[in-house]
């Protein structure tokens, strides 16, 4: 069961500002989904390994060269979509 306090904590962890109205609106809907997730408690998974990934791939290596496998963006291209920039940098909000 997710309480309003839990939801506020999740919102902080995910950097998502929620209004009081959002919290009211989301809490019952999220709880109905969470109830449904509880179905999995019925499955016996004793000794079962988790599947993070369906293919048996591990450690895919490549040569450590800047041109491989793709050409990096130029500074101009990298900054082309930035809403705020200054002197060739992304402009971040102040820390405090």
């Amino acid at each position: 069961m997710i309480t309003k306090k839990d939801l506020e904590h999740m919102a902080w962890l995910s950097r998502l500002e929620l209004s009081g109205e959002d919290t009211e609106k989301y809490t019952p809907k999220l709880n109905s989904v969470l109830d449904y997730f509880g179905e999995l408690d019925k499955v016996d998974t004793e000794g079962v390994e988790p599947t993070y990934h369906v293919l048996q791939l591990s450690n895919v290596f490549r040569d450590d060269e800047p041109s491989q496998p793709t050409k990096p963006l130029s500074q101009e291209e990298a900054l082309s979509n930035a809403p705020r920039k200054q002197d060739g940098f992304f402009k971040a909000p102040r820390m405090m």
Partner: protein, 472 residues
């Protein structure tokens, strides 16, 4: 509606420019809202270039729609979200590079559920797409714009992406062919990620042959996606009208409670048609099917909560008035994401958080193993599995959007396939009160050739794929 071969002949006799111009006019008059962006000028310029210089590629001069979560250099890419307002990718996705090499012409970016999170294309910031068979109904989702555009003949081909059914669901609801390939067959480089361990890009067309041709163009190894697999296959060569000796598994778990009677009948009739054509049927047991939906949503939401952390308005997209660091990012995300995306980020964060990680996320991954084993066991005895794609035909706009859980339940027959990473195709197999029904043909890992051959044989011996919505 025209096939790739018919269009190639017309391009040869007339010009690509004329074809592209015709489709642009259809898109302009369309009531479907299938597109977020129409790239008319660049499409016509490219068509003229192909007309004047010639092009030997298999899709030379043929227009295609691209789901708007696939990066297109110089064409805005929104993921149907307000948070990507103004974003113009500085590079092409791997599949776009492949399409350009093959001579295809990007005619526009197709509408979708915001960040591909949905089953109805109603969560798009740019408004819902409508189903060409009944404009009061949803086209399915999340690649609803791609499927509706093909079904409504706004475009002959389209690409979508499929995380839990997002190609097959709209293919089924709109009466077109849609393929979700084996995980790893198509590079995801340039696909804006929602749930990396589940998703694949997939082709849409009005025939199995055209899906195979498009698939041949976009499949293949790419070092920029570390999950890309090295394999060389020619899928067009699988176009054989022959299912003699094919062993079909029919898992009863997919015909359970909630499956519409007409859908069940159409799919069972289709299976018997294949039996008449020389295939044999086997019952298979897939006992963990009923747990796939919960496992899928926990994994997808968990991966989403991590993937979508990158959207903060600093390097691209929406930005609000700056205050301090955390407040600015929290406000950008509050203003930029829609309700469904927020709910999934919040629940995904919950499922991964200290104290709940083992109960939800780890448990879901263990259940995923059991579901994968269901498929491995079934495929020891059969070549393909056949099920309904969706438990019912297209529902009404607004019917389910207020109740997320009821919308999630619609994905019950498609999500197990993504959990197991196997390939699956949806093909039209009937109608219920004028609305298309889709049959899902599922194959072994990397055995797209067999599901394409099965689908092709069914298509060659039936005419469900020929019927078009009125006004098209």
């Amino acid at each position: 509606m025209a096939t790739i071969n018919e269009l190639r002949e017309r391009i040869h006799a007339e010009s690509s420019e004329e074809i592209v111009h015709e489709y642009l006019e259809k898109i302009a008059e369309s009531k479907l809202n299938a597109f977020i962006t129409v790239s008319g000028e660049s499409a016509l310029a490219r068509a003229r270039k192909i007309d004047s210089e010639g092009h030997e590629g298999p899709l030379a001069g043929i227009p295609i729609a691209i789901k708007d979560n696939i990066s297109t250099k110089g064409i805005r890419t929104t993921c149907a979200s307000k948070i990507l307002t103004g974003y113009i990718p500085p590079y092409d996705a791997h599949v776009i590079e492949r399409l350009k090499e093959a001579g295809a012409i990007i005619i526009g970016k197709a509408n979708m559920d915001e960040f591909a999170m949905g089953t109805s294309t109603e969560t798009s910031f740019y408004g819902a797409t409508k189903n060409p068979w009944d404009i009061e109904r949803v086209p399915g989702g999340s690649s609803g714009g791609s499927a509706a555009a093909v079904a409504g003949d706004d475009v002959p081909l389209a690409l979508g992406s499929d995380t839990g059914g997002s190609v097959r669901c709209p293919a089924s609801f709109c009466g077109v062919v849609g393929l979700k390939p084996t995980y790893g067959v198509i590079s995801r480089y340039g696909l804006i990620a929602y749930a990396n361990s589940l998703e694949q890009i997939g082709p849409f067309a009005t025939s199995v042959r055209d899906v195979a041709t498009l698939f041949d163009v976009i499949a293949g190894y790419d070092a920029r996606d570390s999950t890309s697999v090295k394999r060389d296959v020619n899928y067009s060569s699988a176009m054989k009208n022959d299912v003699r000796g094919l062993k079909i598994g029919v898992p009863e778990e997919y015909f359970g409670e909630g499956t519409d009677e007409k859908v069940e009948k159409a799919v069972r009739d289709a299976i018997h048609k294949l039996e008449d054509l020389g295939a044999s049927l086997k019952d298979v047991k897939m006992p963990h099917t009923k747990y796939a939906l919960a496992s899928y949503y926990i994994i997808a939401m968990s991966e989403a909560s991590s993937n979508l952390a990158r959207f903060d308005g600093m390097r691209y997209g929406l930005r609000v008035e700056d205050s301090d660091w955390h407040t600015t990012f929290s406000q950008v995300r509050a203003a930029g994401f829609g309700d469904e995306v927020k709910r999934r980020i919040l629940l995904g964060t919950y499922a991964l958080s200290a104290g709940y990680h083992d109960k939800y996320y780890l448990k879901a991954l263990k259940v995923r193993t059991l579901i994968k084993q269901d498929f491995e066991r079934a495929f020891k005895n059969v070549d393909v599995l056949i099920t309904p794609t969706m438990p019912y035909p297209a529902f009404r706009l607004g019917e389910k959007i207020g109740d997320p859980l009821s919308l999630y339940l619609a994905d019950v027959d498609t999500v197990p396939i993504n959990l197991a990473g196997v390939p699956s195709i949806s093909v039209p197999c009937g109608f219920s009160e004028g609305l298309p029904i889709g049959m899902q043909i599922i194959g072994k890992h990397f055995d797209e050739a067999t599901i394409l051959r099965t689908a092709y044989t069914f298509e060659e011996n039936t005419d469900f794929h020929i019927k078009q919505p009125e006004g098209v």
